[in-house]
Symmetry: C2
Subunit: 227 residues, 2 copies
């Protein structure tokens, strides 16, 4: 008799990183429930890509949840602030960038936790990685560990039924080049992924924002052609 | 010279508890930014009440954020499940009720944290209390403490600027009768508050759900007429 597959909730943005996480979790044998957000981002095209990636990579379900982060402003990704272009390396590496959305991963993981609880899953996955640590506080391992701890206390499953939550972060220690290599190994259709903070409506990357710069460098270092 | 008032974000539902928290935080001297959610609840009328209470109780700002918890189902407050009526005391006291919304307070506090970060606040307030502990895991003091810890790690303010977040829970140790007395002492217009899980469109309480039963008992024990 076949064992039923364990369910997991995967945060999926349409970018290279989260697509790689989805493919990784599939390889780990999880039945993957993908979750994306329409959160007032400049670029709705990433949700089109997320939908396509969920299908191609074999998610059993894909939910898009509407939330309104614009109400709080404070980020170039949601407010009327320009996305910085052609920044020097030391600027990309230093401090919290203007594209930081306040408490975004806390909000995303909170929804993922709600989703997990309703489907009886105790595994979540998110594409945080080493490159982001310097800039985004909510991408650090200690943040992830704190959320795992919170999840047990926050839920009926944890408080009443003794569930322990695991947040999988398979990219945590990888450079962008490492992520590119892993994506290729897992058969992620990288051309369908979109990393840019400021793409055209049709999904053409700007080529100049931090995300485009890091992606280009990652593919170059990995010796892989993007697209 | 007057010191600028410290800002705080108050989760405000339109019920008695959160209105009392708002009044308490005002008395503590905070400039109060109230936050409510339209989350697919059966009763939109509570947002009408929240708006009125924010105004009457002197919030400097009131935001209503739209989120979609219905996508995850799993609760009588958001899904097509009946709200239980006329339950016996031991049923009200025992286990996680069907009105529990998966990860709701985690989601609410995550948004409050985003709001706090954009206005430079490190104080949040929520109306969790002792009555809820038995039923709702995300009302317990250890959950609140875990969220305070997470907030520091999750935010630019915490990670970069050394902010420490405080989640005020002034009702934590109070019975419903204690909350009623505190509300009266603070001048909360209790008649404008709505506790019912299943009110009419006009905001008339059903009188039979757990919230109505607990409220009626609280007013009786406090020796106060409701309304």
């Amino acid at each position: 008799m076949l064992m039923p597959m364990k369910r997991a909730v995967i945060l999926l943005s349409g970018g290279l990183d989260s697509a790689t996480v989805l493919a990784w979790m599939r390889r780990e044998g999880f039945a993957c429930h993908a979750l994306s957000f329409r959160y007032g981002q400049r670029h709705d095209i990433e949700l089109v890509r997320a939908t396509e990636l969920a299908r191609v990579l074999g998610a059993v379900e894909h939910k898009i949840t509407e939330i309104d982060l614009r109400a709080f402003g404070g980020s170039a990704l949601t407010a009327d602030i320009s996305v910085p272009k052609d920044r020097a390396d030391e600027d990309i590496a230093g401090g919290v960038p203007i594209t930081y959305v306040p408490a975004r991963n806390t909000i995303f993981l909170a929804f993922a936790l709600a989703y997990a609880e309703t489907i009886g899953a105790s595994d979540l996955a998110i594409g945080v990685n080493a490159i982001d640590y310097s800039g985004y506080p909510d991408c650090r391992p200690e943040f992830i560990a704190a959320f795992e701890h919170l999840a047990v206390l926050a839920t009926k499953a944890g408080a009443q039924d003794g569930a322990r939550f695991k947040i999988h972060t398979p990219l945590q220690m990888l450079s962008k080049a490492g992520i590119v290599k892993l994506a290729c190994e897992l058969g992620v259709p990288v051309a369908k992924t979109l990393s840019c903070y400021d793409p055209s409506h049709e999904g053409v990357p700007c080529g100049h924002c931090d995300a485009c710069i890091l992606r280009r460098r990652g593919f170059a270092e990995a010796g892989v052609v993007d697209g």
